[in-house]
């Protein structure tokens, strides 16, 4: 048996050592960039969608002639939905595959440590679905194509205040995404002179949320902000429905597509909120059509594929404009220019001075008869 292990060890070392062998350069050698997506683990569904978005963009870029006449090649690495996996992925991409531009990651908990490391190496990283405001401070080589929580939280609070509600509360998942929404809805509400009652944070994967719901409704808020992933939203809304708890001015939810396909329809009837990205225009239609044709799937299953698609295009256009795939100072400069010109599937992609989105495009929706429909003010 020890021989088997020695053989396995030799194979492992062999795989590592072959990585050190330089490849022979060819006339039209590809422009190689990396991507870190959660291909396994708790965010694997979103990761698969992101990879499809990147793949679709890569194929379209190559069909259009590539970058400076060279084809684009993306090397995908799995973050395993963890910071440790993400760090292993960026180390491999930068040190073995020698990439100078990396797309991803999905969550802030991975984008932050990987971004700090890639930034210290002067490698461009373009986060695709992370929303923590801490991303703003990473450095000049870090960019983000999704609006941070401050944008979503503010817009959601503005939407809810139009209902005439005077008192507000929130129930959010206890992670950076949920707490970010709580912080920014509260800030916006208080700035407008309205009253904030309570922010309840819950842990994921629990079997009962009645205690949290009782705390939430103890002070009788007029309107409630709500963030949840599919499984938790189903249980929270079901239990609130069974307990007869409903805010008089309604629930207001962010990122509604995270749960709209999983909840029991009658428990979510009338919930208002926001959905990311545009749902109209030539870019949107073309993306959805191409996605369906290429993968046989509906691009709407998560919104993240579209953000990954836009990130890939922006990266490719910036490399093309900079005329170099290795000088990251020039690519970073080009990214700012490209972001102002590029009209994405997910809307305007302009970066602010920190490489974050100036704004993002959110649509107002309402859950009605088991599906999301555009909200129309009465």
């Amino acid at each position: 048996m020890k021989k088997v292990f020695l053989l396995m060890g030799a194979i492992c070392m062999g795989l590592l050592l072959t990585a050190a062998i330089p490849t022979v350069s060819q006339a039209a050698s590809p422009v190689v960039i990396g991507s870190i997506d959660p291909l396994t683990g708790s965010n694997a569904i979103q990761g698969a969608d992101m990879q499809r978005g990147e793949k679709l963009a890569m194929e379209q870029i190559n069909a259009a002639g590539g970058i400076c006449g060279r084809p684009l090649k993306i090397i995908w690495e799995d973050t395993e939905s963890s910071a440790k996996g993400g760090m292993a992925a960026v180390h491999k991409l930068v040190e073995i595959n020698k990439v100078h531009v990396i797309l991803g990651a999905y969550s802030s908990g991975i984008s932050l440590p990987t971004g700090q490391w890639t930034n210290s190496k002067k490698i461009i990283q373009i986060s695709e679905a992370s929303t923590s405001p801490k991303l703003r401070n990473i450095g000049p080589y870090f960019f983000n194509v999704m609006g941070l929580d401050e944008v979503m939280g503010t817009k959601l609070a503005e939407f809810a205040m139009e209902s005439g509600a005077k008192t507000f509360a929130s129930i959010t998942v206890n992670n950076p995404f949920g707490i970010g929404i709580e912080i920014w809805t509260k800030k916006t509400i208080e700035k407008a002179g309205r009253k904030w009652l309570v922010g309840v944070r819950y842990d994921e994967k629990k079997l009962d949320y009645r205690a949290e719901l009782q705390r939430l409704f103890a002070k009788k808020p007029d309107a409630v902000f709500f963030t949840a992933y599919g499984t938790e939203s189903k249980l929270i809304l079901k239990q609130a429905y069974e307990m007869g708890l409903k805010p008089p001015k309604g629930w207001y939810a962010d990122y509604m597509t995270m749960w709209s396909n999983e909840v029991i329809p009658k428990t979510a009837e009338g919930i208002k909120g926001l959905v990311m990205g545009s749902n109209s225009g030539a870019r949107y239609e073309a993306y959805h059509k191409a996605y369906l044709k290429r993968f046989g799937k509906d691009a709407k299953q998560t919104a993240f594929g579209a953000y990954a698609y836009d990130a890939t295009w922006i990266a490719a256009l910036a490399i093309n404009m900079a005329g170099t795939a290795t000088n990251t100072d020039k690519i970073a400069k080009a990214l700012y220019t490209v972001s102002r010109i590029y009209k994405g599937v997910t809307g305007d992609k302009s970066f602010d001075k920190d490489g974050m989105q100036v704004t993002d495009y959110y649509r107002r929706m309402i859950y009605h008869n088991g599906k999301l429909v555009p909200y129309k003010k009465k």
Partner: protein, 305 residues
């Protein structure tokens, strides 16, 4: 140079986790304490050094000592009410204790100080890397590897010394004799368990400290029970009750885990399929070891006295 840097990164990971494996090996391999909450030491070490070096701005060495002391004290304290429990109850209690530690840091963001986006679920970034200003970005990983290897060497020598000493023979008798053997020799089993847990905690805390300063960012999501089970896999594959085995197990699992990333660069295989297969392969590796080498790659050397 890039390839060498990648190997340095792997060596740092191996070094940090080898310290964790040696710590668990002392508890489980030698004493028979099924600690399913090993990650608690790791978490406490990481947060303690972060508070000391980042919040209070004290030097790395104070952070390292603080991490070892806090995790060691935690190990001692957690063992006080549980020292007389049997193996399965011990496992449940330690698993729960580790979750309590993680949930504490998840909900009590104030402990690390700072603004609304620091601590708690947001984690803590900008953890200083020791002596970084003295090195370039290229040479620093080599220096950090040196720190990790020195810590690993100290851990190995101390745990080897402990397990070879009369103390080691007593804890092995606790493992083998279901308490009665050690008690028949007049040994206070409870006291020995407390000492083992405290010592295990000290080195688990050391590993957590090294992790925090290497990554520069920690959050409660990095300290899930899965980390404990990966360390268990390292000890089981390498050989429980054998310190060299614990280190070998760490090397095998880490190399296996990382080298499989390269397969798709050479074999036309879908990235998602490969990513899933990698997880399956690690599970299969553990099952194979348990089936054919149930004492691990390096068996424990059982001395006849």
């Amino acid at each position: 140079m890039g390839f060498v840097n990648f190997l340095v990164y792997l060596a740092i990971m191996i070094g940090i986790f080898a310290i964790m494996s040696l710590s668990l090996n002392l508890q489980y391999g030698f004493t028979g304490l099924a600690n399913f909450g090993q990650v608690a030491f790791f978490c406490l070490g990481a947060y303690t050094t972060t508070i000391i070096t980042l919040t209070f701005g004290l030097p790395f060495i104070i952070g390292l000592i603080g991490a070892m002391v806090v995790a060691g004290v935690f190990g001692y304290l957690i063992a006080i009410p549980t020292a007389n429990l049997k193996e399965d109850y011990w496992a449940i209690v330690t698993l729960a204790a580790a979750e309590i530690v993680r949930i504490f840091f998840l909900n009590e963001g104030w402990v690390v100080g700072g603004g609304p986006y620091r601590g708690g679920a947001f984690g803590v970034g900008d953890i200083p890397q020791p002596f970084k200003s003295h090195f370039s970005a290229q040479t620093y990983p080599f220096f950090y590897l040196g720190i990790v290897l020195v810590c690993l060497l100290i851990t190995y020598l101390i745990i080897n010394k402990i397990t070879d000493a009369p103390f080691g023979r007593v804890v092995k008798s606790i493992r083998e004799g279901n308490d009665h053997l050690a008690q028949a020799l007049g040994k206070d089993v409870r006291r020995f368990r407390l000492k083992v847990m405290a010592t295990g905690g000290v080195f688990g805390g050391m590993a957590g400290c090294l992790w925090a300063h290497y990554y520069g960012f920690i959050s409660p999501s990095q300290f899930l029970p899965l980390v404990t089970f990966i360390v268990w896999a390292m000890v089981i594959v390498g050989g429980k009750g054998n310190n060299k085995g614990a280190i070998l197990g760490t090397i095998v699992i880490t190399l296996f885990y990382n080298s499989t990333r390269f397969l798709k660069d050479y074999i036309p295989i879908n990235e998602i399929t490969l990513a899933s297969l990698r997880m399956v392969a690690i599970g299969v590796l553990i099952v194979v070891v348990m089936l054919f080498m149930n004492e691990g790659i390096l068996k424990e050397k059982k001395k006849i006295y």
